[in-house]
């Protein structure tokens, strides 16, 4: 799980720090433009590094420096708790004058305060460990070291962190684009959910028991669902179909693409729950999971996510929906604030506010900031 993040000079974040400690589920609220989605993008940067993107220009651009302030380095620090070990990863970008593409100024990884590697510009120093002596080498300033350092084994700290980062689930789904078709398999879902079919077949291919987990959740929401099938639709291409019961003996089948947007999100949620159970514990950041859902569904949906991650893993949720907000409490709700577009994002826990009466009413009135 993520225990702490520090961000400086990225989008609306200046000297920004958020400490989650050991919270398994977190709600982020705040007005439009307060920085919640930018925070998602910051976390997504770590996911992309874990998934092997190592060219700096593919991760950040000039426009990502706060207010175009390219003379100041852009810094990210993140503390991850994985298997009870604390991984501290730091990466700092800079954009010198006359350069078109940002480059690495500093990078490093520590495990329980032991340096695994450190980097200053192009120079990388891999610390001595049980299997090899300390090594020093150079790397192109525009390439991130974490994805390219050779791992000794799957237990190597670099390998453990990369696998964990690559499996981070970051979702802001566009239901219309989720068609359930697949041409391969993956355990690395896209943010917009467009590779839902690949993730679905990848999960069931590697963890068949995930089927029961998914069906258990889906049957609770759609009592007439019978099962789902994966049909070939061409060379190397498959389509997901869902079957619903008509009576005891008959059912009708429909393509996943024909489901409503909300129903597609039920499936996506079922996939998240199954993934966390069968190859987790995972980290999940779902930007506005209540999008597309009927108000009667929101509470159960959010609670199911919270419950799944309660005993392992971590889920972050952003929301403007009162039903979703009321499924969280003061100690696990963070309020993002930003006074204007010229000022940086600040974050506070809801417990730091003195709100008299209903939280939802205070949010509707925009009174939460005044009541500190």
């Amino acid at each position: 799980m993520i225990q702490r993040i520090y961000i400086n000079n990225f989008k609306c974040f200046e000297n920004f720090e958020i400490k989650m400690e050991e919270l398994s589920s977190i709600l982020m609220i705040g007005r439009n433009g307060s920085g919640k989605t930018s925070f998602l993008q910051a976390i997504e940067l770590f996911q992309k590094i874990g998934r092997g993107i190592n060219r700096v220009g593919e991760l950040i651009g000039v426009q990502d420096f706060s207010y175009g302030r390219t003379e100041t380095p852009m810094r990210f620090e993140c503390d991850f708790l994985i298997d009870k070990k604390l991984y501290k990863y730091t990466i700092v970008f800079e954009l010198p004058k006359k350069f078109d593409e940002p480059r690495i100024k500093e990078e490093g990884l520590q495990l329980d305060d032991r340096v695994i590697y450190s980097r200053n510009a192009a120079q990388i120093l891999l610390s001595k460990n049980s299997e090899s002596n300390a090594t020093q080498f150079s790397l192109d300033w525009h390439l991130i070291a974490l994805p390219v350092i050779h791992q000794q084994s799957s237990h190597d700290p670099i390998s453990v962190l990369k696998t964990w980062l690559s499996r981070m689930i970051i979702l802001a789904p566009i239901a219309k684009l989720m068609d359930g078709n697949s041409t391969g398999t993956t355990l690395e879902p896209n943010r917009d959910g467009t590779n839902f079919g690949e993730w679905f077949t990848g999960l069931l291919g590697q963890y068949p028991a995930a089927y029961a987990t998914m069906m258990s959740h889906l049957k609770g929401i759609m009592s007439d669902i019978t099962d789902f099938t994966i049909e070939p639709i061409g060379k190397n291409a498959k389509s997901l179909n869902v079957r619903f019961s008509v009576d005891e003996k008959n059912y009708f089948s429909t393509e996943f693409a024909q489901l409503s947007d909300g129903e597609k999100c039920f499936f996506l949620c079922a996939l998240v729950l199954a993934a966390n159970k069968h190859y987790g514990p995972l980290f999940c950041f779902w930007d506005e999971p209540d999008n597309y859902l009927a108000i009667s569904e929101v509470g159960f949906f959010v609670s199911a996510l919270r419950r799944s991650f309660q005993n392992g893993g971590q889920v972050f949720i952003t929301s403007h929906n009162s039903e979703a907000i009321q499924k969280f409490s003061d100690h696990n709700t963070f309020v993002f604030e930003r006074s204007s577009h010229l000022e940086p994002t600040r974050v506070k826990m809801l417990s730091e506010f003195q709100i008299s009466g209903s939280l939802v009413n205070a949010l509707i009135l925009g009174d939460e900031c005044q009541q500190v």
Partner: protein, 160 residues
């Protein structure tokens, strides 16, 4: 997903944000969430009763499997329990439960030394394990009869 109105279910109406957070903690730790639903906060003890009477009491007659838990602070007023019961239709009263601390939820937080959600979680664990670690707290003492009634009727619905 709303609760199935045609099977036994429980609706929880919290008085305020503090009692809502306790209810949340309880709800997160019950075996099957599909039979319980937490409603938006009423905004004060008097509002709980008014809200129940205006918005929900008639539905208690319409749906025979509906049970209601009003979560309130007793604010050192033990007669508040009877005062509330006196305002509820006697025909549905057996399915309405009034629970809460004898002072305020905040006092419970200080007494137990945990956040409100965790207290709710511990209350659910007490119910599941049939223990009284938190339900036995002095702040619940004056309410033991109501707690016993809830254990007898609601516990099987939630935990079996």
């Amino acid at each position: 997903m709303s609760v199935n109105k045609y099977r036994p279910h429980i609706l929880v109406l919290p008085e305020d944000e503090a009692t809502r957070q306790m209810a949340n903690g309880f709800y997160q730790n019950i075996p099957d969430q599909r039979y319980t639903q937490i409603l938006p906060v009423a905004g004060g003890c008097d509002h709980v009763v008014d809200c129940f009477k205006s918005d929900y009491m008639s539905s208690m007659t319409a749906y025979e499997y509906r049970h209601f838990v009003l979560v309130i602070d007793f604010d050192k007023r033990p007669n508040r329990l009877q005062h509330i019961k006196d305002q509820i239709d006697p025909n549905v009263l057996a399915r309405v439960f009034i629970l809460g601390a004898s002072l305020e939820a905040e006092d419970l937080r200080r007494s137990v030394g945990a956040n409100l959600e965790t207290i709710g979680q511990l209350l659910a664990q007490d119910c599941q394990n049939q223990t009284r670690n938190i339900w036995g707290n002095a702040l619940f003492e004056t309410l033991q009869d109501e707690i016993e009634r809830a254990k007898k009727i609601l516990r099987p619905l939630i935990f079996s």
